[in-house]
């Protein structure tokens, strides 16, 4: 279980029914790392995530994302996801390192490869989507990103954590999204505005409990151990041009 410098008992403190620990991430809050070179898009994705009760760190490039994760210098040898990043959401088209390249780097890392990575792109290109899924992306969102997209990601993250069936679920999620998008290309979709009220607190157990509680997917497995979920055949079969 992740220990954060003597604050392990914070979990039992409740203020108005919420676990309130601003200094560590043993609350129900999900911590998302958002990567986008566009300031406008960063502001929007930040707001979408915050209003969905996620803690957000937004950076403007793949390099900075790697720096933040501690992956850029290959010095991250202690094998922990200290920052407790629960999801990385990145734009595809960025100068320097693309979102695809960032995805590859994350998936190549033994420490971080279990973190779900979601790709965003303004282009709905099947070959691009394919490539990202091949490389292990959990989902692919066509911009502009909406509240319903964030809700979907968040939902499957919670399920993923609870049931460990990330591959099956995200496969279905991706197919739905692509079908929806191909219809969207034909006709304008109705405004997909979901309620902006924050989702209920993620921690389901009212009592302090050992490792299953933390929302981070990573804390459930031993550091550095190969994940049984890293099956190369996870990618859904789709007809597409390479």
């Amino acid at each position: 279980m992740a220990s954060n410098g003597g604050v392990t008992w914070r979990r039992t403190e409740k203020i108005d029914g919420f676990n309130f620990s601003p200094n560590d991430n043993t609350t129900g809050e999900v911590h998302v790392l958002a990567v986008d070179d566009s300031l406008v898009d960063r502001k929007v994705i930040e707001r979408l995530l915050r209003i969905s009760s996620c803690k957000v760190t937004a950076v403007d490039s793949g390099i900075r994302a790697l720096q933040f994760l501690g992956l850029d210098e290959e010095k991250n040898s202690h094998g922990f996801n200290d920052l407790k990043i629960d999801l990385i959401i990145t734009d595809y088209c960025m100068p320097g390192m693309t979102g695809y390249e960032l995805l590859k780097k994350v998936k190549e890392s033994s420490v971080f490869r279990e973190i779900p990575v979601v790709i965003m792109s303004s282009e709905n290109v099947l070959a691009r989507i394919d490539r990202c899924l091949e490389e292990g992306a959990e989902d692919f969102i066509v911009k502009p990103v909406k509240l319903s997209d964030v809700k979907r990601i968040k939902d499957y993250m919670t399920r993923e954590f609870r049931f460990g069936e990330e591959k099956e679920r995200s496969r279905k999620g991706i197919n739905k999204r692509k079908l929806r998008d191909s219809f969207d290309d034909l006709s304008p979709s109705p405004p997909s505005i979901s309620s902006s009220s924050p989702s209920p607190p993620q921690s389901q157990s009212p009592t302090p409990s050992p490792s299953p509680s933390p929302p981070s997917v990573l804390s459930a497995s031993a550091p550095g151990s190969p994940s049984p979920l890293d099956s190369p055949t996870r990618r859904p079969k789709m007809t597409s041009s390479e």
Binding site: S38, L39, D41, K43, I51, K143, P190
Partner: protein
């Protein structure tokens, strides 16, 4: 009297928004941004839009200077700027601007300088129009806040 002012301002807001949507200048993404405003973030839309304006003006300047360079029109770089402009426009719901960017990009991919120039002029025009309308919208909203603030004490 003050209640009437608030009603009038609300009607003005709705009329302006209806116009912008009806003309295809804005799309539902703008509505989505409005949904993200609340007490904790009451000026979210104007903050994002102002960032958008700032970035757009830079992009427009860059596009113009790239096109004005008759020696070597860097269509590749134009494409990059256009992608940025398209992306941010779609993120705030600026549908018409985004569509002009698409046409502009097509012209740049064909190295069609005349087409690019036409598209740039149209883009500048659309951008100015949107900027004016959104400033108008924000002004009305500011007045509404003031009108609401003055009203409450008198209700007691």
């Amino acid at each position: 009297m003050l209640g009437l002012a608030a009603d009038r301002l609300r009607a003005d807001t709705n009329r302006l928004l209806a116009f912008l949507f009806h003309q295809g200048i804005l799309d539902e993404q703008f509505l989505q941004l409005q949904q993200l405003e609340d007490e904790s973030s009451p000026n979210f839309v104007s903050e994002v839009v102002n960032i958008y304006f700032h970035e757009s003006e830079k992009l427009l300047r860059n596009l113009r200077s790239l096109l004005m360079d008759r020696e070597l029109s860097d269509y590749n770089k134009m494409g990059i700027h256009l992608n940025q402009f398209m992306g941010s426009s779609s993120s705030i719901g600026a549908k018409r601007i985004r569509n002009v960017c698409v046409a502009f990009r097509a012209a740049s991919e064909q190295n069609n300088r005349a087409g690019c120039l036409r598209a740039l002029e149209l883009l500048e025009h659309e951008y100015c129009f949107l900027k004016n309308k959104l400033h108008e919208l924000f002004q009305i909203q500011q007045q509404r806040v003031l009108a609401a603030g003055v009203r409450y004490p008198m209700q007691n």
